[in-house]
C-alpha cells in the first residue's frame, strides 16, 4: 500500500491502441491500461505483487520495437504508441492461451471457480474452440489439502506464480514453489501452509487451482451478490465485500483500499460472516423459561423492568450512528459502561492483523465522552462489582468473540444483577442461559453506519440482506422504558 501512496507526480502521455492515456511516471504499462478501463487479458500480473512476466497473455507491440513483448514487464515512457489489437498480437494471445489449456482438465461443471475464472473468461474472447489435441494430457494431483483451508488442484494451475510470489513477498513464509520442469511443472507446498493470510491465495488465483475449503461447493458464484462493507474483526477495519443471497452469507473478500488494507485481508476476517445466517437467529424478544428460550411479548419485559434500576454495558462494535442514537434515547440513564474485548495475539503482525479486536473502540470512546459517560474498563469493573438484585442489567453482546475464557468470566460476573437482558445479533446459545431475556439487534451487515479504525479513519458499513429480526438497533429498544 505504501507504493500506491508514493506514486511520483510527473504525468506521462502515451497511446494505447487509439486511446490517449495520461498516467504518473513509473507506472507499469499494463497497470496504466487496466487503470484506464482498458481490458487486457492477463493472469500473472497483480498490482500488489512483484512482476513475473510468465503468463505471456498481455503481449503488445510498440512502434519502433521489433518484437511483441509483455506489457506487464514494461514501464510507461513519454510518447510511446502501443497496440494490442493487431493480427499479430491477437494470434499471439490465442496461441498462448492454447498452451495454457493444453493440460487443463475440462472439469468446469464441477469446478468451484466457474463463473469467476480467468480461463473461462479469456477463452470466450481468445479461444480457438476446435480442439487440436493429439497427445494425452499430463495428469497431476487433484484435491490436495495444503493447509489453512486451501485446496490445491495442480491440473487446473497455469503456473502464473501469483501464489508463490504472495508467500515470498507478502507473508514471507515461503511455503509454495514450482517443482519439476516443462509440462510436468506444478505448484508444490513445503509441508503445509502456515500463515494468517492464506485465503488471499484463493482470491489471487486466476483459475480454479486454489479454492477455499470453507466456500467451495457451497454456492455457484453467479447466484451471489456482493455487499461492500468494513471488516469488524479487529481495529484495522479492512474494506471488504460479503457475498450473500437469500439463503445466506457465504464468504468475505477484501476490496482494494490503499489507505487501510491495500489488496489483502487476514484469515480471521474471513470468518466474520459465520454468524450472519445461522438458523437460530432471533426473530423477536425471547425469555429463558424451563431451560430454553421461548418467544415473549414486549409488555412482559416492560413489566419486569419497571421498578428496577437500569444499567447498560455496551459493546465496542456498534456503529457511530448507533452510539449516537443510543445516547440520545437513554440520556436519563447514568449507569452506562463499555465492555472491551481483550487483546489477542501480537500487537501488530506486520501486515494487517492487530491485537485490539474492538472494531469501533474509537467511535465508542468519542460517543461516551460526548455523553459524559466513562468508557474505561475500570468503570465497567466497578459496575460489575456493585451490581445488586435491584438492578436490571442490559448487555449489548459483542458480535465476534476471540478470547472465550475472558468472555465467560465476564458473563459469570453479571449474575448479581436481579434482571439480566442481552441485546444480541447471535442465536440462542447455551452461554446466554444466564440471561432472563434476549433482544435482537442488527448484525454489521444489516445496518447502515460508520466505524472508526485504528488510524482514526472512518469506514462505512452497508446494509445487505437480513436473516433475523434486525429492524431495531440498540437505541430503538428505548421504548421498553417509556
Amino acid at each position: 500500500m505504501s507504493e500506491v501512496e508514493k506514486l511520483p507526480k510527473k504525468m506521462i502521455k502515451l497511446k494505447w491502441n487509439d486511446k490517449d492515456l495520461e498516467v504518473p511516471e513509473g507506472t507499469n504499462l499494463l497497470g496504466a491500461a487496466l487503470n484506464n478501463g482498458i481490458k487486457v487479458a492477463h493472469y500473472c500480473y497483480h498490482p500488489g505483487l512483484a512482476v513475473a512476466g510468465v503468463c505471456r497473455m498481455c503481449m503488445v507491440e510498440q512502434q519502433g520495437v521489433p518484437r511483441p513483448f509483455p506489457a506487464c514487464n514494461a514501464v510507461v515512457a513519454e510518447g510511446i504508441q502501443v497496440r494490442n489489437d493487431t493480427k499479430q498480437i491477437k494470434d499471439a494471445v490465442e496461441w498462448t492461451l492454447q498452451f495454457h489449456l493444453l493440460n487443463h482438465p475440462l472439469d468446469c461443471p464441477i469446478c468451484d471457480q466457474a463463473g469467476e475464472c480467468g480461463l473461462q473468461d479469456y477463452y470466450m474472447k481468445h479461444g480457438q474452440y476446435d480442439s487440436a489435441m493429439i497427445d494425452k494430457k499430463v495428469h497431476k494431483k487433484k484435491v490436495q489439502d495444503i493447509g489453512c483451508d486451501v485446496v490445491l488442484d495442480a491440473e487446473r494451475c497455469i503456473l502464473c506464480a501469483r501464489c508463490t510470489r504472495f508467500v515470498d513477498d507478502v507473508t514471507k513464509t515461503h511455503e509454495l514453489g514450482i517443482v519439476n520442469r516443462g509440462d510436468h511443472a506444478e505448484i508444490s507446498v513445503q509441508k503445509e501452509l502456515h500463515n494468517d493470510y492464506a485465503q488471499n491465495l484463493v482470491d489471487i488465483c486466476p483459475v480454479g487451482a486454489l479454492t477455499s475449503k470453507d466456500f467451495r461447493f457451497k454456492q455457484r458464484v453467479w447466484f451471489l451478490e456482493d455487499v461492500e462493507s468494513t471488516c469488524i474483526g479487529c481495529e484495522t477495519g479492512c474494506s471488504v465485500k460479503i457475498s450473500q443471497n437469500k439463503s445466506g452469507a457465504y464468504r468475505v473478500r477484501p476490496i482494494v483500499d490503499s489507505e487501510v488494507n491495500g489488496f489483502w485481508m487476514c484469515d480471521d476476517g474471513r470468518k466474520i460472516y459465520k454468524h450472519l445466517s445461522t438458523p437460530g437467529r432471533l426473530v423477536g424478544p425471547m425469555v429463558f423459561k424451563n431451560s430454553m428460550f421461548l418467544p415473549v411479548a414486549e409488555s412482559e419485559i416492560k413489566e419486569k423492568i419497571k421498578s428496577k434500576n437500569i444499567k447498560f454495558i455496551l459493546s465496542a462494535g456498534l456503529s457511530n450512528e448507533e452510539y449516537q442514537s443510543f445516547f440520545k434515547e437513554f440520556k436519563n440513564i447514568k449507569n452506562i459502561t463499555l465492555y472491551q474485548l481483550p487483546k489477542t495475539g501480537a500487537e501488530f503482525d506486520g501486515i494487517l492483523k492487530r491485537a485490539d479486536k474492538n472494531c469501533n473502540l474509537r467511535g465508542a470512546q468519542k460517543a461516551f465522552k460526548l455523553a459524559g459517560a466513562d468508557s474505561s474498563e475500570e468503570a465497567m469493573k466497578k459496575m460489575l462489582d456493585t451490581l445488586t438484585s435491584q438492578d436490571a442489567l442490559f448487555v449489548v453482546m459483542p458480535e465476534i468473540v476471540y478470547d472465550h475464557d475472558n468472555y465467560a468470566s465476564f458473563l459469570s460476573k453479571i449474575k448479581k444483577a436481579g434482571l439480566r437482558v442481552a441485546l444480541t445479533t447471535d442465536d440462542m446459545r447455551s452461554e446466554f442461559s444466564d440471561f432472563h431475556f434476549l433482544l435482537p439487534v442488527p448484525t454489521f451487515l444489516e445496518k447502515e453506519g460508520h466505524i472508526i479504525n485504528y488510524q482514526n479513519k472512518e469506514r462505512k458499513l452497508n446494509k445487505g440482506r437480513s436473516y433475523g429480526a434486525s429492524d431495531r438497533n440498540v437505541g430503538d429498544w428505548a421504548h421498553l422504558f417509556h
Partner: protein, 158 residues
C-alpha cells in the same frame, strides 16, 4: 530424522564455493552437487541442513532439485549409471542398451538395486554424440557401446 552435516573436508569446500559468487544463492547448485557427492542423494534432511546453512527456503531448494535430472530426491546406489537415449544414441541403439541393461540386472529405471550397487537412469542428450551410443558411470563417459560391453562394464563395478 537423522541429521545431515558436511564432513570436515566438504565444510572447507563449501566455504570455498561461496567465494566463487557474489551472492549466496548463486552457490546453491554446486553446494547441492557437493552434498550429493557425500550423501548420494538429496534427502529431506540434506535439504533442511542446506536451507539452514544458506538461508534459502526449503521449497526454493526443492524447486531446483526437481528441475534438474541429475539431482536426486530419492535414494540412488553406489554406482549411478546414466544411459543416453537422445537422437544420435538412439540411432545407434541407445534405447535397446538401456532396456537390455534393466532386463539383465532385473532393475527398474531410476530405482536402486536391492544390494545397493546399481542405479540406472534413462537420460536425454549427454553431449557426447561422437561416441554414440554412450553412457556415464559415476560421471565417467563410456562410448561406442554394445549391450554386451555395457553389461560387462557394469558387472565389474564394486
Amino acid at each position: 530424522m537423522k541429521k545431515f552435516e558436511f564432513n570436515t573436508a566438504n565444510k572447507k569446500k563449501y566455504q570455498e564455493l561461496l567465494t566463487h559468487y557474489d551472492d549466496i544463492q548463486s552457490a546453491l547448485m554446486p553446494v547441492l552437487h557437493l552434498a550429493q557427492e557425500q550423501h548420494s542423494w538429496l534427502s529431506p534432511e540434506v535439504v533442511a541442513h542446506i536451507s539452514e546453512l544458506m538461508g534459502i527456503p526449503e521449497i526454493k531448494i526443492n524447486e531446483v532439485i526437481s528441475f534438474y535430472d541429475m539431482f536426486y530426491d530419492h535414494p540412488t546406489a553406489r554406482n549411478v549409471v546414466q544411459v543416453c537415449t537422445n537422437i544420435t544414441c538412439s540411432m545407434f541403439g541407445g534405447r535397446e542398451i538401456h532396456k537390455g541393461i534393466l532386463d539383465h540386472f532385473q532393475l527398474h529405471n531410476m530405482r536402486p538395486s536391492q544390494d545397493g550397487k546399481l542405479y540406472i537412469q534413462k537420460m536425454e542428450c549427454l553431449g557426447a554424440c561422437e561416441m554414440a551410443p554412450c553412457m556415464r558411470i559415476n560421471n565417467i563417459y563410456e562410448g561406442h557401446l554394445t549391450l554386451k560391453t555395457a553389461v560387462q562394464k557394469l558387472e565389474v563395478l564394486p
